[in-house]
């Protein structure tokens, strides 16, 4: 059963289907908001707002992917939140190359780390990213959107979406490398 079919069941009144929709996307949305706001209470409120909106406007969703619809609402909520906080960062299409694309985290090093440690490493690196980079990484790697879906959510061309993801990934890996180096130095000391 696809997420869209589950959603239609939920709209017909099935509480079970509504719970399935939450289990499919609730955790992703919460983590998406949590990594972008770093405030659990606010992430909860915003996740709840997303689900309330899709229920209020349940008749508006006819075609397309449910995941795209959900994360478009989430992205708009996040931008609204940024505006409230006076977020002034400009999202440009062409970002300058700030990271050497050939420098990357050694896979062998990552292999030695446990999965939860990789998660912590990603967490720490995400905190150092800019908001726009976090938004892109959150949509693609936390939200699970493909590049075309991310482009649709961000309302940008596909090529621009790929460029943004690549730039954000390079910066993320740079921060991960710094984290790894700092951890190695700490372990050595």
């Amino acid at each position: 059963m696809t997420p869209e079919e589950i959603w239609r069941e939920a709209v017909r009144g099935s509480q079970q289907a509504w719970g399935d929709v939450y289990r499919l996307f609730g955790g992703r949305l919460y983590q998406f908001f949590l990594k972008n706001t770093s405030r659990p209470a606010q992430a909860m409120d915003m996740t709840q707002e997303v689900f309330e909106r899709i229920w209020r406007h349940r008749d508006d969703f006819q075609t397309g992917r449910l995941q795209t619809w959900l994360f478009r609402i989430a992205r708009n909520l996040l931008i609204d939140e940024w505006r409230k906080r006076g977020h002034s960062e400009v999202l440009v299409d062409e970002l300058p190359e700030v990271v050497d694309p050939h420098s990357r985290v050694e896979a062998t090093v990552l292999d030695k780390l446990a999965r939860n440690e990789v998660s912590k490493l990603i967490d720490a690196s995400l905190d150092k990213l800019s908001e726009s980079d976090r938004l892109v990484i959150g949509l693609v790697y936390l939200g699970g959107l493909s590049f075309p879906e991310m482009a649709e959510v961000m309302e940008i061309p596909l090529g621009t979406a790929k460029t943004r993801v690549r730039q954000a990934r390079l910066r993320l890996e740079s921060h991960m490398r710094e984290q790894m180096q700092g951890r190695s130095v700490g372990e050595a000391i």
Partner: protein, 463 residues
Amino acid sequence: MNCNEFIERILDHVLLEQTAADSEAAVHLEECPACRERLEFERSLAAGFSAIVSADPPAELTSRILTIPERLNAADQPVVIAEQPAVLEKPQPTPADLPAAQPGRSKPETPSREPLWWQSFWFKAGLSFVTAGFLLAVGVTQVMTTESGVTEKRAELARTAPATEMVAKPELPAGGPAVSAPLVEPSGMMMAAAPVAPSAPGEQKAQVELPAAPPPPPPAFRADSMESMSGKSITKSGPEDVMPVVRNLETKIETAGEMPAQHDDSRMQKKDRREQEKDVPMIVGEPLIGAKGRKEQKLASVKPAPVRASAPVPVPTKSLPLTVRTAEPAGNAYAKAEPIQEVGEILLLKTPDGQKRLADELTPESEAGFAPPPPAKTAAAISRTAFVEESGTAVSPRKQARIEEIMSAHPSGIKAGTLDIDQWVLSGWITVKERIDIAPPHGMKWIALKRGTSWKAELRSAR
């Protein structure tokens, strides 16, 4: 597949395993150890992100979200009053299923979200309709009452006023103020405004005893309304004297159907006025009237002649008294014609042959002299009146008036071609720059037409 293509594809984690399983990518992976390392790194990264996402959200969030349909449906559901029939209850299948499927999640509805019965839409709508209907009924009743009251008063006064008039006439004193007042045919409005005759005996008796007091001073105005006539006649006569005559007069009216002719002073006045008008020599006020061919000559002789006004002489005319000033020629070359008579603003001349004719008696071949001749269609005249909107749609009256105003103010600046109206609008209601084309479109031509007292330009086919 090269390294760039491979890395670009595995960056999309949705396609990560799919890309790794691709045969073309597998061939490249066997040849490229760097891409193999990159693939492993992406797998580790995807696992790390997956671990983040798979973390359970707070239980509080779960409970809040799972009750969203129930809460929102309850908020949208209209309130059902216990006493009302069940027909008003809107069926909501969703909340009916929700508590059964997930027991324990049902959140009690907050009372503040429930609209009370006097806050419901139907109650407000019904109250509004009732109020509007009541106000409408009150208004209609008022109008009908007023109309019926006026009609009754008119009917009552129509019965009493003529009789009062006839009775009052011989009773008036010689120097009374209303003797010189002409009797006017009672109209509806006048009768409605006239005071109702007192019916109480006490009031009439008190008014009869008034002659001991000094007589009232004569009014300074010309009393021509039934108000003064009826009031004074009843005061001088009395109900005992009036009523038999009223009955007699009513009988006469019923039999004859109208008032006798000898009592209709207003008709007599009209007749006398007509006879007087016949006796007064009629001044022919159409100096420019004549047969075709003599028009230009009259215009040349009359138009530039300066006149010197003398003492005004009242002259009766058909309906209104006019003031005629006899003007003498000033002695120039243009004023060698006969003395000019001027009436008001209209320049009058006696016709050379002495024949006096009214404008209504003109023969069809005659032309009205007051109307200016149509403008000669020179290039300048055409350019003054020629205009069209760039879009080709009809010109609105406001815009046409403004264009004519502009053209009359700047006759020399108009040329064929495109013209911006906004150039000349320093202050006015035109705020947008409008562009008009002075030259007529291809296959069209401008013609001047007189509409009423003004000239309008219209596009017509050149054929």
